[in-house]
């Protein structure tokens, strides 16, 4: 076991273990939060990170692996500092979402799903992010990018490079 949670993370996980007390297995529901926390601490969910979550909560490794691979926000590989999740679903597509995605790909020099070589950005083609009234839209951590056009993309990328909005900080 090469990884350890920080004292803060341990405290947070211990507190969460008290929140599901009516459960016969009160630590099992904490697996989702613990994975978010592990992602914050270690950047991504390596096999070792999954083992740490499993041993911390007394769960089988296979259970934690199963959960970590079901949900799309858990990352098994390192990603960029800021993840831009660009929606191309129906409301965004109808107002040029794919053109905006292409503009992000061009500006960042990566295809959707990729991470820039300087590790500043990961670009993801996302399903609906529930901001359809401001389509096309994207979300980067706690920052929404609304009413997008291809022309707005270069300055948005420059801003986010200066002021990153890492989603792993939200735990």
């Amino acid at each position: 076991m090469s990884l350890e949670f920080s004292a803060d993370a341990q405290k947070k996980i211990a507190a969460l273990c008290e929140r599901y007390t009516p459960s016969p297995a009160p630590k099992q529901p904490v697996v989702m939060a613990a994975l978010h926390i592990a992602q914050k601490e270690f950047g991504h969910l390596s096999d070792d990170a999954l083992r740490l979550v499993a041993s911390t909560l007394g769960l089988p490794y296979a259970h934690v692996y199963g959960v970590a691979t079901f949900y799309t926000m858990y990352r098994r590989e390192p990603s960029g500092k800021t993840t831009i999740r660009m929606c191309t679903n129906i409301s965004c597509m109808l107002r040029g979402g794919y053109e905006v995605l292409a503009a992000f790909e061009k500006q960042l020099g990566v295809k959707a799903g990729g991470t820039t070589s300087n590790k500043a950005f990961t670009l993801i083609e996302e399903e609906c992010i529930a901001a359809c009234a401001n389509a096309p839209c994207a979300v980067a951590g706690t920052t929404y990018l609304l009413d997008l056009t291809p022309e707005k993309v270069p300055s948005i990328v420059a801003d986010l490079e200066k002021h990153p909005s890492p989603e792993s900080e939200v735990v």
Partner: protein, 446 residues
Amino acid sequence: MAAPIGTKLVSARFGNLDAQTLAGYEKTGGYGTLRKALAMRPEDITNEVKASNLRGRGGAGFSTGMKWGFVPKDSKTVHLVCNADESEPGTCKDRELIYWDPHLLIEGMIISAHALKAVHNYIYIRGEMMREYVVLQKAVDEAYARGYLGKNILGTGLEVHLTVHRGAGAYICGEETALLNSLEGLRGQPRLKPPFPAIKGLFGNPTIVNNVETLMNVPFIIDKGGAWFNELGTGRSGGTRMLCVSGHVNKPGVFELPMGITFNEIINDVCGGVWKGRKVKAVIPGGVSMPPLDADELDVPCEFDALQTDERIKPVMVTPTQSFDLGGGRQLRTMAGSGGVVVLDDHTDIPKAVWRIMKFFAHESCGQCTPCREGTGWLEKVARRVADGNGKPDDIDLLASIAHGIAGNTICALGDAAAWPMLGFLTKFRADFEAAIAASVKKRAS
């Protein structure tokens, strides 16, 4: 009197950032109704909600009071879970509601928990709602600090806890039994029903799962009475309704509107008409799971019963001569769904729009049931080739047969949610698919 346009309940604090804080919320009357509710007997609260004709705002439109009534009377442990996993494409109201008025949701949940005698309660918030999670968690912490939540709330001896549980990216977790599995720390795969959650839900206990907007309406019902709330609506659907209008209109937005408003009124009076001076081709009435309306069907009210039964809406067909059977010979028109109204103008490439919807369902199928796992994948593949100009002469029949093979044959409604719009678009916009395929055939021949 039905509510006039401009009536605001759950969206009254939109734009007032101060209301995110407990002090700002209290300043605008917040938590006043909680005191009144705590002095009421639980069954009296449930009776007001029954009288209000409040119907679930998450998609199914089921009577909230009736749902609450399903909890067995002698239950020892009951849970209330708020479904804040909003991810139905075209829907963007719960995110706004949580962001602008987190304490209204908390107040609604405490009142509802009191009615249900529920001690340990949860809000399942979508993982991608990072900004809203921060706002909501802060509000919950404030409510604990002020004694609105905890072991002895406001000195009444009542114990009510609220825990915010973050999802991590999975549309299926908006389905209530998948949500419960996810809340228990499992992969988010739906459970077989029955048993329904009200009988056997979270941790095996009776559990009520309600949508964000549904719970936020509860304080108004308790403050002004179920009869008053019912009067605002259309008779069988009380209150107002949050609608999210997106797509090809001049002024898209999230609006609180009267229950009986028609689609033509929404498009023309509320949203400034179709953009670029164009005409409507199709309207998705309540998120992409719902069969579309065509331009001749827009005088129907955007209300739960009307969308299911109004005869001005043509029934969904499997083939031009065989109507789709919802079970027991019932026809499928459409449903009010989640309030996500998507407007498609007359320049829209319908096969391409349908392909994008099918791509979504293929991506989000949890893989548990074969008809959905395989079927959504094939719907996406075949729709893609039609949209890309590589369609084959039999593709319309093929799409219809795949969709018909999924519908009704899966554990949860995600399979239906893919099949219904597929069949709905084929029913009403068949000519668009035929034209795309004819062009492909011609291209290959030349």
